[in-house]
Symmetry: D2
Subunit: 350 residues, 4 copies
C-alpha cells in the first residue's frame, strides 16, 4: 500500500537501486491518450539535469512499456513501465555494511525490516524516483489534453538564491566548492501548475494542498512544503495575506496569489504554487561519527561512491512528476477528466 499513490489514477512503484530493474504500474489512465516512447524518454532524461552536480552513475535509463499501451495509445488498462538497471551488480557499499550512515535510511530500515539492503540504498535510494518520472510522464500527457502544464525551477541552491543565470552559476560554484571539502548542499525548488480549472480538490482530508504535501514530502530528502506564501503568511496581516477578487473579462480572478491557487484545498484557477526544501545529500566523504551496529560500537564513516553534490536540480522534475500524478488523480476524482476515455473527457474544455 505504501508503494502506491492515488485513488482512481493509482501509481505503484517497485524496484531497488541495485536490483535488476525498477518500474511503475499506472492504473486508471483513461484509454486513448496519445503516448510515445519519446514522451517518457524525455522525462527520464531529466534525471541528470546537470552532470557537474549529479551522480556520476552514467545510466542510459533503458525502459520498456510492457502493458496498457498499443500503437502509441493507452488502452485504459494498467500501464506497466520497466526501467532496467545496467550496472546493478557493482557495489561500492560493502565496506560500509555494518556502519549506519547519518542522515540515511540505514538505521530505520534495519529496525523496521530486520535486515539491511547492503547492496545500496534499496528502496530508500534516490534511484527509486526514476519510476516516478516515468509515471509522471504519463500523467503530464493526460494533463496536456486540458492544457494544464507543470513547471519547476530551483530557486535556491547551497544557500544562494537563484533568479538569474549569474546567480545560478554562483550557486553551482558554491555547491562544487563544498563538494571539494567532502560536503554536500541543499536547496529550494518552486513548483507551478498552470491552467487548472476552478473547483478541483476536495474538502477536509482531501484538500489538494494536503494531497500535494503528502506527494512531495514522499520524495527522499524533502524537509518542508509550502503552499503559496507559505511560512511568510505567518508574518502577514490578513489584508496582506488575502488575495482580493476582481473581474477580468467576466472571469473571477485574484489580484495576488498568496494562497498559491488554493482556497480551503480547492483550486481557484490561479497558478498552483508550491515550494519544497531539499536537504543536503546525506552521503558525504567527510568523516562522520556513527555506530557499527554489528559490534554496537561507535565508529567513523566516510562514504565513497557516486553521490550527488547537491540533488536539488534532480528533485525538480520528480516534484513535477508527483504534482502531475496528484493533479491527474484529483481531476478524475473531481469529474473534470473522464475516468476511462480521453476522447469524451472534454468537460474541462467547455
Amino acid at each position: 500500500m505504501s508503494n502506491s499513490i492515488g485513488r482512481l489514477f493509482v501509481v505503484t512503484t517497485w524496484g531497488e537501486s541495485h536490483g535488476q530493474a525498477l518500474g511503475a504500474v499506472i492504473d486508471g489512465c483513461p484509454a486513448g491518450v496519445f503516448l510515445s516512447l519519446g514522451d517518457i524518454e524525455k522525462e527520464l532524461a531529466r534525471d541528470i539535469p546537470d552532470i557537474e552536480l549529479g551522480t556520476k552513475r552514467d545510466e542510459p535509463n533503458k525502459f520498456e512499456i510492457l502493458s496498457g499501451w498499443f500503437q502509441n495509445r493507452t488502452l485504459g488498462t494498467p500501464i506497466s513501465i520497466i526501467i532496467h538497471n545496467i550496472d546493478y551488480k557493482t557495489s561500492n557499499y560493502k565496506q560500509l555494511q555494518d556502519l549506519i550512515r547519518p542522515g540515511h535510511a540505514d538505521y530505520t530500515y534495519i529496525e523496521k525490516y530486520g535486515h539491511r539492503e547492503f547492496r545500496g540504498g534499496g528502496r530508500a535510494s534516490g534511484r527509486e524516483c526514476i519510476a516516478r518520472l516515468a509515471a509522471g510522464a504519463v500523467a503530464k500527457k493526460v494533463l496536456s489534453y486540458f492544457e494544464i502544464g507543470i513547471e519547476s525551477r530551483v530557486i535556491e541552491m547551497a544557500g544562494i538564491p537563484i533568479n538569474s543565470k549569474e546567480s545560478y552559476q554562483k550557486a553551482k560554484e558554491a555547491s562544487l566548492e563544498n563538494a571539494n571539502d567532502g560536503e554536500s548542499t541543499g536547496g529550494i525548488v518552486e513548483l507551478r501548475a498552470k491552467n487548472l480549472p476552478v473547483g478541483a480538490g476536495s474538502p477536509i482530508f482531501g484538500k489538494l494542498d494536503a494531497e500535494l504535501a503528502l506527494a512531495l514530502m514522499s520524495i527522499g530528502g524533502i524537509k518542508g512544503v509550502e503552499i503559496g506564501a507559505g511560512f511568510s503568511s505567518a508574518k502577514m496581516k490578513a489584508s496582506e495575506s488575502n488575495d482580493e477578487f476582481y473581474l477580468n473579462n467576466g472571469k473571477i480572478r485574484c489580484r495576488t496569489n498568496n494562497a498559491g491557487g488554493l482556497l480551503s484545498g480547492i483550486s481557484t484557477g490561479e497558478d498552483l504554487v508550491v515550494t519544497i526544501a531539499v536537504k543536503p545529500t546525506p552521503a558525504i566523504s567527510k568523516p562522520q561519527k556513527t555506530v557499527n551496529i554489528k559490534e554496537m560500537k561507535e565508529a567513523m564513516i566516510e562514504c565513497k561512491g557516486r553521490f550527488d553534490l547537491n540533488f536539488t536540480p534532480r528533485v525538480a522534475p520528480i516534484a513535477e512528476a508527483m504534482a502531475g500524478i496528484i493533479l491527474t488523480d484529483e481531476l478524475i476524482c473531481s469529474g473534470y477528466i473522464h475516468p476511462s476515455k480521453i476522447s469524451s473527457s472534454s468537460l474541462l474544455k467547455k
Copy 2:
C-alpha cells in the same frame, strides 16, 4: 472519502458550522481502551485556549459518545461522538450572501458544489475541527498506553517569536492591536511527539512525514509544514544537517535532531518535530475588494461576526489531534499496536 483519514484507524468527520451538530466516527480503535468523558471534554475545552484572541462564540461543546463505548471502555466497534451546536440557527452571514470573502472557501465551494452554504462557513469553517479534537482525544488515549505523548506550542504569533511569557504577552498585544485596526494575524506552531518506537512509518508514499504533512495541511489556514530543521536544511551543509549517531546506554541515539525524528519517513526514536505555518484569519472587518457573484460586479466587503483575531493558539491542539490520529494509525499498521485488543498490544512495551 475526503472526510476520512487513516488506513486501519480511520477517522471520519461530519457536520457544518451552522448545522445542528458535528461529529466524528472513529473506526479501528482497539477494544478495552479506558476512555472517560473527561478525556474528551479536556481536549474539546482546549478549543478556546485564549479567550482574548479566540472567537467570541461561547459554546460549551456539549457532546455525547453514542457507540463503541461502554462502562468507560472502548468496544472495538466504531466510536461515534456527536458535538451539538448550540446557537446554530443565529446567522450573521446572510448579508454577505452574494459576496465571496477573500481568503475564504466561498468562491471555490460555489464552483465545486454549485451552491454556497450561506449559513456560514459550512464544512470549511474552523468549527469543523471540533470533531478532530474529539477523535484526537481517543487517539491520544491509545498512545498513552505506550507512553507516547504529543505536545504543541505556539512559537511565533503576529510576527513575534515566542520563547518566554514576556514574548507571548508581546505577541498577544500585537495581535490585539491589529484586531483593533480590523485586521487579523497568523503564527507558527511547533508540534512534538515523544517516545515513539524506532521503525514506525512506511517507505515511499507511506512515509510518516508525508502522512503527517497531509494531516496537518488538511487543517484550514495552514500554508506550510516542516519536518525537523525544515527549510533551514536547504541552507546547511551535510555535516551540519546530518544527525550523527552515538551510543547511549547501549541504545543508538542521534546527537542532533535536524531530521525531526524521521529518516526516509521512518521513526528514529528521537522526538518527532514538525512546524506549521498558520495564515491570518481571512475574515476581517477591514474593507476588502471582492466580487458579487450574483450580479458579477466588483464590490467591497466587510466581514462582521465572531472571528478569531489570530487562530494560531486554536490550531495547536488540532495539530496535536491530527498527529495523534496519524501516529495511532501508523503504529497499528506497523504492528506496534494490536488492531483489536489493547490488552495484548504490548509489543511496544517490550
Copy 3:
C-alpha cells in the same frame, strides 16, 4: 475501515443494537440532490415488512439528518443520519452472558476483541442494518435522477418457492409452524437493478459483480451470492449460457440474461440480477448444545427474546440498500454521475 464501504461514495455505519443510537455517514453524495425526510422514513419503515415473521421489537425508528442537508437538498458534504434506539436499556440477554450462541458472533467476537458485548448482538446484530437502510435511501435517491431503480423480492422461504400470493402464504405458514417448534427458517432473495447504462463496473478486482458480492455477503446471515444464472451456469453448455446479442431499435441487446447484466464485471444494459441465500435466524428457543466459556464446560442454551422467525423478508430491503450504495459509487467512479453536483450529472441521460 471495515465499517466503511465505497470509494468515492463512501458509507460508514456505527452503533450497537443495545446502545443509544445507530447511524450512517454518507460521504461523497453530490450536492443538490432533493431528499426529504420521507425518503428515508419510507426505507426505514421497510425494516419490519411482515410483523408476523419479524422481531417483536416495536421500534418506531426515530431518526434525524444532522448534516450535509439543508432545505431538502444535499449540500455535497457528509450526510450524517442518526437513528435512536428507544428501548435500548432493556436487556433479556444477561442470563446467557457466558454461553456462546451457535450460529452467532458471540464466540468469534470474544476471541477477536477480548470481550463480549453482553447487552446483545452489538455490531453483529441485524439491528446494525437500519443504518444501511438510511444510507441506501440516499443512494436510491441519487440513482432516481437517472431512472435507475432497484427492486427485490423473496423467491423462497422456509424451503417453499414463492411466485404467487398463494405460495407466499404457504411459505409464511411453514415459517410460523417452525417457529412454534422453537425453530427458525431461511430463504432466498432476488435483487434486480433496472436501467443501468452500458459500461459501469471496472475490470479485474473492481468488477461490479465482485463489488456487489462483497456488499451483499456483508449482510449478516447471507451464505451465498449468485449473479444471473449463478450456480445453474455450471450445468449449462456455452450455447445455453451465452446471451446472444441482437439489435432492438438500433440498440444492442441480449436475448437472454444468464449473465445477470454483467460481462467481465461491466454492465451490459440488461437488468442486473443477483440472488442471495439467507440462513435461518440462529437464535432459537429450541435447546442447543454449546459451551460456557467462563467455566469452559459444555452446556445447553435456549435463546429467549425478540428474534425473527425468518428474516428473509427483512433482508430484501437491506440488499436493495447495499446494491444502491455500490451502484451509486460505481457510477460516480465510472464517470456517469458527477461527483459533486447532481445538476450537471446528466452524462447518463444523454
Copy 4:
C-alpha cells in the same frame, strides 16, 4: 485501483493476453520470507492442470522476480514478478474484429473504453490470472509459516458431480464430448483453508466471507460464491444450520461446519469452505447470433482459436491464489502476521 486488491498486503496485476508480458506487484509482504523460484514455478505450472481440457496455447510461463527479493528471501519491499508472453504477436482474432462475442467482455469493454483490444481478450482474458497465480504463490509461502494450507478441488464438471477418479473420468468425457459439438461446459470448485486462527476477519463490510466473495467473484467466468452450506442453508431449519459448539481437549470446536468456518465474517478455527460456480467458456466454435458493431447489423459468429473446453480445472488454483492473498492480507490487518518482519510474526504460533 481496480487492478489492485488488499489493504496492507496489496497485489496489483497488469498485462494483456497478447501483450509482451504480464505481471504482479506484491506490496506489503513481510521481509525475511524464504521464497524460491521453484515456489512460483510450481504454482504457474498449475495453470494447465489437464492438457486435454485446457487451452492449447503451450506457453512455458517464463518469469522473473525483478525486485523485493534477494538471495531467496523477501526484502519487505514490493515484489515485482514478470511473466513473459512468448507467442504474443500471433493473433487469430483479427477476423472477428467487428463482431462482439456472446458471453465475452468485447461489448462492455468497447462501451467503457471506446475501443476494443482486438489482439485478443486483453485484460479480460483468462490469461490475466497467471499474474494472480504468481502473487498467490507468495501469499501461500507467507501462510505456510503459520501452517495455514489452502486446497481446492473440482466437485462438478459438465454437470457431473465428482467424488471419485471414475466420476472425474466421466466428467472429463462429458466435457470432451461437448467440445466435439463445438460447445464448452462449466463446473463447480470447492476451496478449503485449514488451520486458520480464531478471530480473523473484521465486522460489517470487512467480513472475511465478503472479502473472499469479492476476490473469487473477480475471477472471470465465476457466477456464484457460497460460504459453507451456502444456498442449502436457505432450506434448513436453524437447528440443522447452526453448528453446535463442544469442547475438544480444552478447545472450543464446532460439531458441524455449515458456517464454513466463519461466524459474522470472523473465523471460528474450523476449515474455511467456499464453493464457486464456473460458467462454460464463452468462446465456442458453434455458430452464435451476434451483432457487427461497425456496421450495426446482426451477424453470426464462430470463434476459432485456442479456447478451454472447460476451464473449471484452471479456475481451481486461481481460486486458491485469491484466497491466499485475502487471508494473508486479513491476517496482517488482524495482527496475526507482523507487517514487516516474518521472524517476529509468531503471534499465531503461540
